[in-house]
C-alpha cells in the first residue's frame, strides 16, 4: 500500500503537534516539497517557537539556523501524501482511480477486484462497491467470520482482519466516523481510544485503509488531518431531504424551435447545392460541412456553450432528423458522386409555415406508437427519441422510465422557470424508477449515455437519472422549442416548459408560435435581394442564380453577372429567373436590374466542341484536287484547309489521293 504502510501510532503521536500549528504553516509544510532552508529560517520565523516545541524543527549544531527534525521527515511525507488526497473531497470516480493508482500495487488492486467478484482488476466495479453508503454500514454490522470469508484477500501474507480485536476496532472506528458525520480528526483518535491496545488501533487503521473503508486526507482550508469514510458517502449521509423545485427569478431567457430552423437551413443549403459525402466514412466533405455551419443562425454564447450546441453538432442533429423524416436522401454512387439532396418531400416541407413544421416534428415524438425498439443485444430504446441514450433489457422498466421522465417534466409549473439542479436532485431521489428497482432488491444493468453498468448502485442511478434529465432537456426539449431556459441572478440554470413543450407532453392540444410568415422579399436596384422575413423555399430558388450573403432574414443574396452566368450554364433562362422572382417578390423588379440580367443572358452563347479531321494542303490547287475526288465528303474551311466530315471515309480518300500522287 505504498505510503499508507507506516507506523500509524507514531503518526498519531506527531499529529497532535500538527494540530497546534496555524493553517498557513500547515500549508507550507504540506507543500509538494519539503520546505527549504530559506522557508524554514525566514518565512516561518514567526512560528519557530511552536515548531521547535513540536519537534518539527531543531537548531543546527552552531545554533544559528533551524533545520527540519529528522524524525519529522516521515511524518511530513505522510502529510504531503494526505495533502494530495484533498482531492478526495471532490468524491468522483476519476479521483478514486487516482487514489487507487497512488496507493495500491497492481496485485493489491487485483485482490480487491477479486473481492468484488471480478477475475481481473476493474476499477469501476471496485468503485461501485466501495462508494456505496452500504459498504461501511454493512461492515459495521458484519460478523467477523462471515466478512473475512467473503472478503479475505487471498495470496497475501497477512489477512488484515485475522484478529477479532482488530476487526472490532475497525468496526468501532467506522461506526464512530459514521456517527460523527463521516469523519474524525486524527488528533482525536488517541484520546478517543485511550486505553486500547495501540497495536490494535494501528492494525485497524491499516485494515480500514486496505479495504477502502476509511481514507486519510488533509481538509481543505485548515489542513486538519482527517480520517473518514469515502467523501461521497459523507455527502450522502449529510445531505438534506429533497425539496420540490420552486419558481425562480431569471434573466437572459432563451426559447426557440432551433431544430426546425436548423433543418430548414440544411434543406435550403442542400437544395441549392447537394452535400458531397465521403465514401470512406459517410461524413460530409469539409466544404459542405462549412457551408452548413456558416449558414446556421448564431446562438447566444451562454446557450451554445452551456448546452454544447456548437454548429457542427447542430448540423449533425439537423441532418439526422431531416433524414429520419425523409426530407433529405443520399444519392449517387459510392466512391464517385455520393451526395445528400433535398427530396421533393423536403421542398414541400419548406413551403409549410413554421408552426406546421414544428407541429409535425412534435407529433412524431408525441404519437410514436410502434412500441419500444429492441436492439440486437436485446436492449430496448425509445423510438420517439424523447428518452434516448438509455437502453435496458427490461421492457417493463423502460416504460416506467419513459413515464417517469415525462411526468417529471410535466410537473414543471406553468408560466415559470425552476432551478434545474434542484429539479434533477429532487427527481433523481424521488420518483426515480431505476433507484426503486434497485431498492426492491433487483439487479439492474444497462446503458445510460456511454456508461454501461451492471449491478448498478443507488448512487449511480441517482447520478444517471440526473444525466438522463439533462440529456432530454439539452438534446430534445430545448432544440424543439419545448423548453425555456435562463439563468437566475446567482448563475443557476433554470428551466420551464414552453407552449410547444406543453403540447409535446400532452398537456395541451395546441400551442402558439409567433412567426414571421410570408416575409417580404425585395430586389433592390443595387441587385441585392433582401428578405424581411424567413421564406425558406424562396431562399432555395433564388440561390440558383444569386450569390449568398446571409441566411434566414436580412440581406441574403446579391445578383451578379457571375451568378447569372453560372445559372445560365445550368440551363436556367431569363424568363424562368424572372418567374421565380415574380413569385416571391412583393415589389416590382427594378428596371435597371431587369435590363442587366437580360443583357447578361443575351451575351450567353452555346458552342460545341467536336473532334474532326483537317486536311492541310500546301496550296489552293492541291486543295481543289482533293475536293474534287472526295465525293462531297470534304468541305472547304479556307483556301488550303479542308475538313473531312465522315471519318469512316478516311481510308478510302487516302487511297484515292495516293493514286493521284497526293500523299498523306
Amino acid at each position: 500500500m505504498k505510503v499508507l504502510e507506516i507506523n500509524w501510532l507514531a503518526f498519531l503521536a506527531d499529529v497532535e503537534a500538527w494540530a497546534l500549528l496555524p493553517a498557513t504553516v500547515r500549508g507550507m509544510l504540506a507543500g509538494a516539497h519539503a520546505p527549504s532552508a530559506e522557508q524554514i529560517n525566514f518565512e516561518l520565523r514567526e512560528h519557530h517557537g511552536v515548531l521547535l516545541r513540536a519537534n518539527i524543527l531543531r537548531r543546527s549544531a552552531n545554533g544559528k539556523r533551524l533545520l527540519l527534525h529528522k524524525d519529522t521527515k516521515n511524518f511530513l511525507r505522510v502529510v504531503r501524501a494526505m495533502e494530495q488526497n484533498r482531492e478526495l473531497e471532490g468524491a468522483s470516480k476519476p479521483v478514486f482511480e487516482t487514489y487507487l493508482s497512488n496507493y495500491f500495487t497492481y496485485e493489491e488492486k487485483n485482490s480487491l477486484a477479486r473481492v468484488t467478484g471480478q477475475w481481473y482488476y476493474d476499477h469501476e466495479a471496485i468503485y461501485r462497491r466501495v462508494s456505496r453508503v452500504q459498504w461501511p454500514q454493512e461492515f459495521v454490522k458484519a460478523r467477523h467470520s462471515e466478512w473475512v470469508k467473503l472478503y479475505a484477500l487471498r495470496s497475501f501474507r497477512e489477512s488484515y482482519f485475522v484478529s477479532l480485536d482488530v476487526f472490532a476496532m475497525s468496526q468501532r472506528l467506522i461506526a464512530d466516523c459514521l456517527e460523527n458525520g463521516g469523519s474524525i480528526p486524527f488528533q482525536e483518535l488517541t484520546s478517543r481510544y485511550e486505553g486500547r491496545d495501540s497495536g490494535v488501533l494501528d492494525a485497524a487503521l491499516m485494515g480500514c485503509f486496505r479495504y477502502l473503508l476509511l481514507y486519510p486526507w488533509l481538509k481543505s482550508g485548515t489542513r486538519e488531518a482527517i480520517l473518514g469514510v469515502w467523501p461521497g458517502i459523507i455527502q450522502r449521509l449529510n445531505r438534506k431531504p429533497p425539496t420540490p423545485p420552486s419558481a425562480a427569478e431569471v434573466r437572459n431567457v432563451f426559447q426557440s424551435p432551433l431544430l426546425i430552423h436548423d433543418i430548414t437551413t440544411v434543406l435550403v443549403s442542400a437544395g441549392a447545392e447537394p452535400f458531397r459525402v465521403r465514401a470512406g466514412d459517410n461524413m460530409l466533405f469539409a466544404k459542405a460541412q462549412k457551408t452548413i455551419d456558416e449558414s446556421l443562425t448564431a446562438l447566444p454564447d451562454w446557450v451554445e456553450k452551456g448546452f454544447q450546441l456548437d454548429r457542427t453538432s447542430r448540423a449533425r442533429s439537423a441532418l439526422f432528423y431531416a433524414d429520419n423524416q425523409g426530407l433529405v436522401e443520399q444519392k449517387g454512387v459510392h466512391g464517385k458522386d455520393l451526395r445528400i439532396e433535398t427530396t421533393q418531400r423536403g421542398l414541400k416541407w419548406l413551403e409549410l409555415p413554421a408552426k406546421i413544421r414544428l407541429r409535425q416534428m412534435l407529433d412524431s415524438v408525441r404519437e410514436a406508437t410502434e412500441g419500444l425498439r429492441k436492439s440486437s443485444d436485446l436492449h430496448y430504446s425509445d423510438p420517439s427519441l424523447l428518452v434516448y441514450r438509455l437502453s435496458l433489457p427490461s421492457e417493463k422498466l423502460f416504460r416506467k422510465v419513459i413515464v417517469a421522465a415525462k411526468e417529471q417534466y410535466t410537473s414543471l409549473p406553468a408560466g415559470s422557470l425552476v432551478d434545474f439542479q434542484n429539479f434533477c436532485d429532487y427527481h433523481s431521489r424521488r420518483g426515480n424508477p431505476l433507484v426503486k428497482h434497485i431498492e426492491a432488491g433487483r439487479k439492474l444493468q444497462g446503458t445510460v449515455g456511454s456508461d454501461y453498468f451492471y449491478e448498478a448502485t443507488t448512487e449511480e442511478m441517482e447520478e444517471s437519472w440526473a444525466d438522463l434529465l439533462w440529456s432530454i432537456l439539452r438534446a430534445r426539449l430545448l432544440i424543439m422549442g419545448a423548453a425555456t431556459v435562463g439563468y437566475s441572478a446567482d448563475g443557476s440554470l433554470c428551466l420551464g416548459l414552453s407552449d410547444a413543450g406543453r403540447y409535446l407532453l400532452g398537456l395541451a392540444e395546441d400551442f402558439e408560435l409567433e412567426e414571421a410568415s410570408g416575409g417580404e422579399v425585395i430586389v433592390q436596384p443595387n441587385f441585392e435581394v433582401v428578405f424581411l422575413g424567413p421564406r425558406p423555399l424562396a431562399e432555395v430558388e433564388i440561390s440558383r442564380f444569386a450569390e449568398r450573403c446571409g441566411s434566414h432574414v436580412g440581406l441574403l443574396f446579391k445578383i451578379t453577372k457571375k451568378s447569372v452566368m453560372k445559372a445560365a450554364s445550368t440551363g436556367l433562362t431569363a424568363e424562368s429567373l424572372f418567374e421565380i422572382l415574380g413569385l416571391y417578390c412583393s415589389k416590382d423588379i427594378p428596371n435597371n436590374v431587369k435590363r442587366e440580367i437580360l443583357g447578361w443572358f443575351g451575351n450567353c452563347r452555346r458552342i460545341t466542341l467536336q473532334s474532326t479531321v483537317l486536311i492541310r494542303c500546301q496550296d489552293a490547287e492541291t486543295a481543289a484536287r482533293v475536293l474534287a475526288v472526295s465525293g462531297g465528303k470534304v468541305e472547304r474551311v479556307t483556301d488550303t484547309i479542308l475538313e473531312l466530315r465522315d471519318r469512316d471515309k478516311r481510308t478510302e480518300l487516302v487511297r484515292k489521293l495516293k493514286g493521284m500522287g497526293i500523299f498523306v
Binding site: 426559447q255 425585395i522 436580412g554 440581406l555
Partner: protein, 568 residues
C-alpha cells in the same frame, strides 16, 4: 434568435454584423430613421431598403452629442422587427461605455488627462503609444500632459478604443467683427435655412467647452459653406479655411463677399498664385502640403501660425491629406470645423477625423432635404448605344485599355448628346468627358466652350461666371469640374466618358447639379455607354453606387429614343 416578438410593422432588421436594414415603405420609417441617424451611419440607400451601420465611431459621435446607451438600445428594440442580436447590444453598450471615461482639461499651461477609475488609468498609462506623452502621474487617476501633445494623446487613445472628451477649451483668436447680410447684393433676402442654423448652433454649443470642434455632415448642395459662415458669425474671430482647389477657394471668397459684411481686404487667398494672409484666409490643401522634395519641410504649414486663428475650417474633410492631420494634431487649442458630405474615408482614417477635428455635430439625411425641397431630386439615366459595325472587329482584337478608349470615344455618343440637349432646351447643361479630342469634336460644332486642366484660372473663372449668370447655357468640362465647383443653376449633366475613379468622384459629380431650381426642382444626370463593351462593365459599378446613394437609375437603349437629333 427566438421567433417570438416578431413585429411586422417595425422597419428595422438588425443584423449580427452591426448593419441595420431599414424598410423605407414601413409606416414607422421616418421615426426610425430620425432615431438611427443619431448613432448609425448611412451606408447605402437604394429604393426600398436602406442600410445603416453601427460602429464604435458612430456610437462615440452619438455619445458626444448627448445620446445615452439606453436611448440607443430602446430605439433599436422599439423599431426592430425581430429581437436585436445579443452581441450587437452588448458591443454597443461596450463602445458607449468607453466614451467619457477619459477627459482632457486644462490646468495652467498644461493639460490634465483624467480617467474614471484607477484600473482604466493603469490600462491607458501602460500603452506604449501613450507612455511618452505622459509628463507625470498626478494621482491614481490623473496625468499631466503637455499642451502640445493634446492632439497626439487623443489620436493614440482612440486607436486603443478609448475616445477622449476634450474639455480643455480654446484660444479665442484674433477678434473679427462682421455679420451675415439680411439681403444679397441683388436684393434677394438671405437667411440660413433651419437645418443650417441647427448645425451651426450644434457646433458652437453657445461657446461652451463641449462645442468648438467637430464635423458637419450634409449632402452635396445642402449649403455646407453657409453653415460655416453661420459658425464664423457666431464666433466673430479670424478664420483659416482650407479647400480642395483654387477654384473652390474663389468660390468661398464669392460667398463670403456676397453673404457677409466682410470687405475684400479682409479676405485673402493663399495659393500658388497669391500669398495673402488676412483675417479670413482661404488656402488649398495642395499648397499646404507642397514641398520642394521628399526630404524638405512643408514650408507653407507656417500659415497655421500665420495669425492668431480663432477657427480653422476644413472643407471636404474626408479628403484631408495625412500631413494636414499631423499639423492639425498641433492645433488642438484652436476651434476646428470640418465640412463633408460623408464621414467615410477611402483610407479608413475616420478615427483621426474624430480625434483631431472633432465628433460629428450635425447630420441631415439627403432624403429629408430632398423631400423638403432644399436639394434637387435627381434622376440618373444610362443610355446605351451600339458599337458601330466598323469598330466591332478592331474592338474584339484590341487589348483592354484600347478597348476602353474605343468604347468611350464611340462617335454615336455625339448624336445622343444632341438628342439630350434637345430635350432640355432651357436648362443649364454640363457635359463631362475624359478625352479632350472627344470633347472637342462634340463641343466645337455646337460652339460650346471646353474647360480642361490646362485652362488658365482666369479663363475658368470667366466661363464659370458666364455659366452661373445664364449667359452660357452649355459647358463642356474635364476632370476639374469634379471638385468643389459651385454652379448653382446647372440642372443637367451628361457624362460621355469618365475615369470611374473613386466613389467620391461620382458623388461630387452629382453634387454639382444638385441645387434648388426654380419650378420643378428636378435635376438630370445622363451617362452614355457603349453596349456590350468594357465600358458597360465599368458603368455597372457606377450604377450600383448611384443606386446605393438612392438615386433613381434607369437604363435606356438609344434605339428607343425618338425626337429631334440636333440643337444649335
Amino acid at each position: 434568435m427566438s421567433m417570438t416578438h416578431y413585429n411586422p410593422e417595425n422597419p428595422l432588421v438588425v443584423q449580427g454584423d452591426h448593419t441595420i436594414l431599414v424598410e423605407v415603405d414601413s409606416p414607422r420609417y421616418g421615426a426610425a430613421r430620425d432615431e438611427l441617424v443619431r448613432f448609425a451611419e448611412l451606408v447605402k440607400a437604394p429604393e426600398h431598403i436602406h442600410t445603416y451601420r453601427v460602429t464604435p465611431l458612430s456610437i462615440w459621435n452619438a455619445c458626444a452629442a448627448g445620446t445615452s446607451v439606453e436611448e440607443i438600445g430602446e430605439a433599436l428594440r422599439g423599431f426592430s422587427k425581430y429581437p436585436v442580436p445579443a452581441n450587437v447590444e452588448t458591443e454597443i453598450r461596450d463602445w458607449a461605455l468607453r466614451y467619457g471615461r477619459l477627459r482632457l482639461s486644462r490646468n495652467g499651461e498644461d493639460l490634465v488627462l483624467e480617467a474614471d477609475d484607477a484600473v482604466l488609468a493603469e490600462q491607458v498609462s501602460r500603452h506604449k503609444a501613450v507612455v511618452p506623452l505622459i509628463v507625470e502621474r498626478l494621482s491614481r487617476q490623473t496625468f499631466r500632459i503637455r499642451a502640445q501633445s493634446r492632439g497626439e494623446i487623443k489620436q493614440a487613445l482612440i486607436k486603443v478604443g478609448f475616445p477622449v472628451e476634450d474639455l480643455a477649451g480654446y484660444v479665442e483668436g484674433e477678434r473679427l467683427s462682421f455679420e451675415l447680410r439680411a439681403a444679397l447684393k441683388n436684393g434677394r433676402p438671405f437667411e440660413l435655412r433651419h437645418y443650417q442654423v441647427e448645425a451651426a448652433d450644434a457646433f458652437h454649443a453657445a461657446g461652451g467647452a463641449r462645442g468648438g470642434s467637430g464635423v458637419i455632415t450634409l449632402p452635396c448642395g445642402a449649403g455646407k459653406t453657409i453653415v460655416a459662415l453661420g459658425c464664423m458669425a457666431q464666433l466673430q474671430t479670424s478664420t483659416l479655411i482650407l479647400t480642395t482647389s483654387v477654384t473652390a477657394s474663389r468660390q468661398w471668397i464669392r460667398e463670403l463677399l456676397e453673404k457677409t459684411t466682410l470687405a475684400e481686404d479682409q479676405i485673402g487667398e493663399y495659393s500658388g498664385l497669391r500669398k495673402q494672409i488676412r483675417p479670413v484666409t482661404l488656402a488649398t490643401y495642395q499648397i499646404m502640403t507642397w514641398r520642394q522634395d521628399r526630404e524638405a519641410d512643408f514650408r507653407h504649414m507656417e500659415l497655421f501660425n500665420g495669425r492668431d486663428w480663432g477657427l480653422i475650417v476644413y472643407d471636404e474633410v474626408h479628403l484631408l491629406p495625412a500631413p494636414i492631420f499631423r499639423a492639425t494634431a498641433g492645433l488642438q487649442a484652436r476651434r476646428r470645423l470640418g465640412l463633408t458630405a460623408t464621414l467615410v474615408r477611402e483610407d479608413g482614417h475616420e478615427d483621426d477625423v474624430f480625434a483631431l477635428i472633432g465628433p460629428k455635430k450635425a447630420d441631415v439625411p439627403w432624403k429629408v432635404l430632398e423631400d423638403q425641397g432644399w436639394i434637387a431630386k435627381a434622376t440618373c439615366t444610362e443610355i446605351r448605344i451600339p458599337l458601330p459595325e466598323a469598330e466591332r472587329m478592331p474592338y474584339a482584337i484590341a487589348e483592354r485599355r484600347v478597348q476602353f478608349r474605343l468604347a468611350a470615344e464611340n462617335e454615336r455618343k455625339i448624336d445622343v448628346v444632341r438628342y439630350i440637349l434637345a430635350q432640355h432646351p432651357d436648362d443649364l447643361v454640363l457635359i463631362i468627358g475624359m478625352y479632350l479630342d472627344q470633347l472637342k469634336k462634340l463641343a466645337e460644332p455646337l460652339g460650346v466652350p471646353i474647360l480642361t486642366g490646362q485652362t488658365p484660372q482666369r479663363k475658368r473663372d470667366e466661363v464659370f461666371a458666364e455659366f452661373r449668370e445664364g449667359r452660357l447655357r452649355i459647358l463642356a468640362v474635364s476632370k476639374i469640374a469634379n471638385f468643389a465647383v459651385d454652379l448653382p443653376d446647372a440642372s443637367v449633366a451628361i457624362q460621355i466618358s469618365g475615369t470611374f475613379g473613386s466613389r467620391q468622384e461620382e458623388a461630387q459629380r452629382l453634387g454639382r447639379i444638385l441645387r434648388p431650381k426654380e419650378g420643378a426642382n428636378q435635376a438630370h444626370f445622363y451617362t452614355i455607354v457603349t453596349r456590350d463593351t468594357v465600358e458597360q462593365d465599368f458603368a455597372l459599378k457606377r450604377q450600383l453606387f448611384l443606386c446605393e446613394q438612392g438615386y433613381n437609375y434607369s437604363i435606356v437603349d438609344s434605339e428607343e429614343l425618338t425626337g429631334p437629333q440636333l440643337v444649335r
